[in-house]
């Protein structure tokens, strides 16, 4: 008989750690000496996906750079909840300038490091979807096209959460926000608007573009580490559920992100020099309802008379992601 080779343990490589794995196989987050880039005591809401995603990403970047890392932050939740005077949660050199200029400030920091002969010090810029896809888009595109040596990480929670949940260009269709209320003949955000920034980043043909979610830590960490292997402009777009803005339970933040991936609503993939090189396959494909139902921002689609045609359009978007990014194909070994 043939024996299955032992390549994973009880839980495979899906958990954060696992005592049975060798230290190299464990995630950064499982390490006792992880940098905890965002220290305890920050003021993020309970179950904040962004707080989690940012720590995941920055801790991984810290490990990849041997802690030779500087972070630049756009205005937004992440900035506000980590650095209200007189306390900061950041444990690495960190700077906040404005809402729309994080990419450019990071370019400046990277230039300073280069000119100071300290190229080992790497620079990460980070912002929410508003600071990235809207107000910061010009600076971001400039940083991309100049191929400045910056990793830009967008923590996408699909609306302006810091100001009270207003629509951004990353808000999905049908989602209720404070500026796309669930009223009128077409409640929620309209179809046919918005942009998917990872695809735009790819169009710049920068060395590395990836998407990730907080639900798959190892994938996220691998991408941050991979990004750090390149010089030049890199972009990682991380889906980070927002319990407040999405109307989900605080304990569901990771589950919702997982559902976004498993339904195809949010494609998880990576690209190099403008060409997709991998996709994180969906393990158990689920219908979009599974993702939509737990979220109050989509509550108007359900109830006594579910809006099946709207759900079908959202399903079609997910299906398009699945085929466009090859989300049902097995990972190439």
């Amino acid at each position: 008989m043939t024996f299955q080779p032992i390549k994973f343990y009880q839980t495979g490589t899906f958990t954060v750690g696992n005592r049975l794995l060798t230290p190299e196989q464990r995630s950064v987050q499982s390490h006792l000496d992880r940098s905890n880039a965002i220290n305890s005591g920050h003021r993020a809401c309970q179950g904040c996906g962004e707080a989690l995603g940012a720590r995941y990403a920055i801790d991984a970047a810290m490990e990849a750079t041997n802690s030779q890392l500087i972070a630049v932050n756009a205005t937004g939740c992440l900035e506000v909840f980590t650095t209200p005077y007189p306390e900061t949660s950041w444990q690495l050199p960190w700077m906040h300038s404005l809402f729309g200029n994080a990419a450019a400030v990071a370019t400046g920091v990277a230039a300073a490091m280069k000119v100071k002969g300290r190229s080992e010090v790497r620079v990460v810029a980070q912002g929410g979807d508003g600071g990235t896809t809207d107000i910061g888009f010009g600076c971001l595109s400039g940083m991309f096209e100049r191929n400045d040596d910056v990793l830009y990480i967008c923590y996408d929670n699909e609306a302006y959460m810091n100001t009270g949940v207003q629509r951004s260009s990353a808000t999905p269709p049908a989602a209720r926000t404070a500026t796309t209320m669930s009223v009128g003949p077409e409640p929620g955000n309209v179809f046919g608007q918005g942009k998917f920034l990872p695809a735009i980043a790819m169009a710049h043909e920068i060395p590395y573009v990836a998407t990730a979610t907080v639900a798959d830590l190892r994938d996220l960490e691998a991408k941050v580490k991979r990004a750090m292997e390149f010089r030049g402009a890199r972009y990682i777009h991380i889906l980070v559920p927002c319990p407040l803005g999405w109307g989900t339970a605080s304990h569901d933040s990771i589950r919702i992100a997982r559902l976004a991936h498993e339904t195809g609503v949010f494609p998880v993939f990576e690209a190099e020099y403008g060409v997709q090189v991998s996709a994180l396959p969906i393990r158990k494909q689920l219908p979009v309802e599974e993702y939509l139902k737990p979220q109050k921002r989509f509550a108007h689609l359900f109830g006594a008379k579910p809006k099946v045609e709207v759900i079908a359009r959202l399903q079609a978007r997910a299906d398009r992601n699945i085929s466009r990014y090859g989300l049902l194909q097995k990972e190439v070994a």
């Binding site: 009880q10 839980t11 750690g17 499982s30 905890n36 179950g47 989690l52 830590l217 589950r255």
Partner: protein, 540 residues
């Protein structure tokens, strides 16, 4: 550096902000009872020993296992593994092959010559164990480890009881049995064979025993009236199986009818098949109503055993028997149909269950006998102070594993009774049900199938039918354990806390919450794969 006021801050200074005050509910770690442990009649800490086996630490796994059950190599062969029936993984893909890992550990122990630790102290008390079957051996083992002096008095010529005289070799090779019995004796347990206790009170008095544990089993085959001619050979299953152990194999002829639908009937049929006979099992009900385990029926059918369902023996004549066809009524009971047929039969083996030989209890005060079994209290003590009983002779399911469990339970109560105390079992944790798990974190890993002896050899020899796992697949199998309800240090809580409010204590020491910062979001609970955290209301 001379930092500008207010806009430039020292790193990590947010520790001054204790966000734990936001919390209304808090997570707490807990150990839930895994369904396998809950289902084990021997009270094994299955998940506990799988935990060590997963790491390849087989000796530690074996030692953890034998804390509760001294017979893993036997268990791994004869136990009907209710643990696997209960296993949560069965709802995911296939139950973890607990039984096969147990056997691997048992075999590994025999191969490596692992021995039990000798008791550190002696209590000075003497306990008589009557019967060297699974229950008696188990009790002797536990009592010896508790520091008591134990003597087993066994009526038969060899230790093992039903494990030797009721279970065929092809299911339990005798060298395995002998090895595990010997290991118990090596603890300092005295075994006196061919010593039938005729009067328990007298035996205790003569031997100066402070307590006794009776585990004589149920060895008397039940009989039923079958009109038969002189020439027809009618035997009982227990006698047939027992005689398999001796030099003189029973003379049953070529065509053997086995009457009954339990595991014993299957054992007899499969045994005689191996002796070259053609067994036919006659059973009055249907396959799904038969008490035998279905996998045993399946294996018997594969080996060429014939089975006549819905039939009763009406008469046995020379070289043939008459059977009546039955049909099930609405309540599932078999009713005669008046249709008859004859079957060729050189002998009939009755496998209709066994009775207990209660002669040793005659005259003992306070005992209660009901339906042919000795009644015991929750502490396994009979109505007579100091005399405990277990195994097949008390009312319960009659399996090796139940017997082993009785032995352990009785040993604990005997120990307490000898010390003048009462044994209090630890409160049972809530059960880690399937819904408590977060299955996303477990990778797909179908059960490893144990190799089976090829069909030709199974029909002609008493070689063991079921093979064992080798190390690599035993390890794989152990690692399929979901660790339901008990932390296995996957680091998920440590990783997923948005507030770094989980403190990792290091290998084997698990985690604790830092309630100074825990905001009570509950992500750790949702993302714990095995359901070892729960939310409770905060005292405000």
């Amino acid at each position: 550096m001379d930092k500008p006021f207010a806009i430039t801050l020292d790193p990590g200074s947010s520790l001054a902000n204790l966000t734990g005050s936001w919390r209304t509910r808090k997570p707490v770690y807990l150990d839930r009872l895994p369904p396998c442990n809950n289902a084990c009649p021997a009270g094994e800490n299955i998940q506990g020993w799988l935990f060590h086996a997963e790491a390849g630490n087989y000796e530690q796994a074996w030692r953890t296992l034998t804390e509760n059950n001294p017979l893993p190599a036997i268990m791994g062969r004869v136990c009907y593994h209710p643990c696997e029936t209960a296993c949560n993984r069965g709802q995911l893909d296939d139950a973890v092959g607990i039984n096969s890992v147990e056997r691997f550990l048992g075999d590994e122990a025999i191969k490596c010559g692992w021995q039990f630790d000798k008791p550190a102290t002696s209590s000075g008390k003497k306990v008589l164990v009557v019967g060297a079957g699974p229950s008696g051996l188990s009790a002797a083992y536990h009592l010896a480890r508790m520091g008591h002096k134990v003597e087993i008095q066994e009526a038969g010529p060899m230790a093992g009881g039903m494990m030797r005289f009721g279970i065929p070799k092809y299911r339990l090779p005798r060298e395995v049995l002998d090895a595990e019995v010997q290991r118990i004796l090596d603890l300092g347990v005295t075994l006196r064979l061919n010593t039938k206790v005729a009067n328990i009170e007298q035996s205790m008095k003569e031997g100066g025993f402070d307590a006794a544990f009776l585990a004589v089993g149920a060895h008397i085959g039940k009989r039923t009236y079958i009109p038969a001619g002189d020439a027809t050979k009618i035997l009982d299953a227990v006698s047939v199986l027992r005689s398999m152990e001796g030099e003189d194999k029973p003379m049953l002829g070529r065509r053997v009818v086995v009457y009954g639908g339990g595991n014993t009937a299957i054992d007899v049929a499969r045994s005689v098949k191996r002796m070259g006979a053609e067994p036919i099992i006659v059973y009055r009900r249907t396959r799904d109503k038969a008490p035998a385990h279905d996998f045993e029926i399946e294996e018997a059918l594969q080996e060429g055993v014939m089975i006549k369902w819905l039939s009763t023996i009406k008469q046995a004549g020379e070289g043939e028997i008459t059977v009546e066809k039955m049909q099930l009524d609405e309540k599932g009971f078999p009713q005669p149909t008046g249709e008859f047929e004859t079957l060729a039969a050189d002998s009939v083996v009755l496998a209709l269950g066994q009775d207990v030989d209660l002669s040793l209890l005659e005259g003992v005060s306070g005992l209660e006998i009901k339906d042919g079994t000795v009644q015991v209290g929750p502490n396994m003590m009979t109505g007579h102070d100091g005399i405990f009983a277990g195994g097949d002779m008390v009312p319960s399911e009659r399996t090796v594993t139940v017997g082993v469990g009785h032995g352990k339970k009785a040993a604990r109560h005997i120990d307490a009774w000898l010390r003048g105390t009462v044994y209090e079992s630890a409160p049972k944790h809530e059960i880690a049900t399937f819904d408590k798990l977060n299955l996303w974190y477990y990778s797909d890993a179908p059960k490893t199938v144990r190799p089976m002896l090829d069909i030709i050899r199974r029909q002609s020899s008493f070689d063991e039918v079921q093979g064992g796992l080798d190390e690599s697949n035993a390890l794989f199998e152990a690692r399929r354990c979901l660790s339901c309800g008990n932390c296995f240090e996957c680091d998920n809580c440590y990783g997923v806390c948005p507030d770094n409010a989980v403190i990792k204590l290091g290998p084997g020491r698990r985690f604790e919450f830092n309630y100074d910062y825990c905001k009570g979001c509950g992500i750790c609970v949702s993302e714990c794969p095995c359901g070892a955290i729960k939310m409770v209301a905060e005292d405000i």
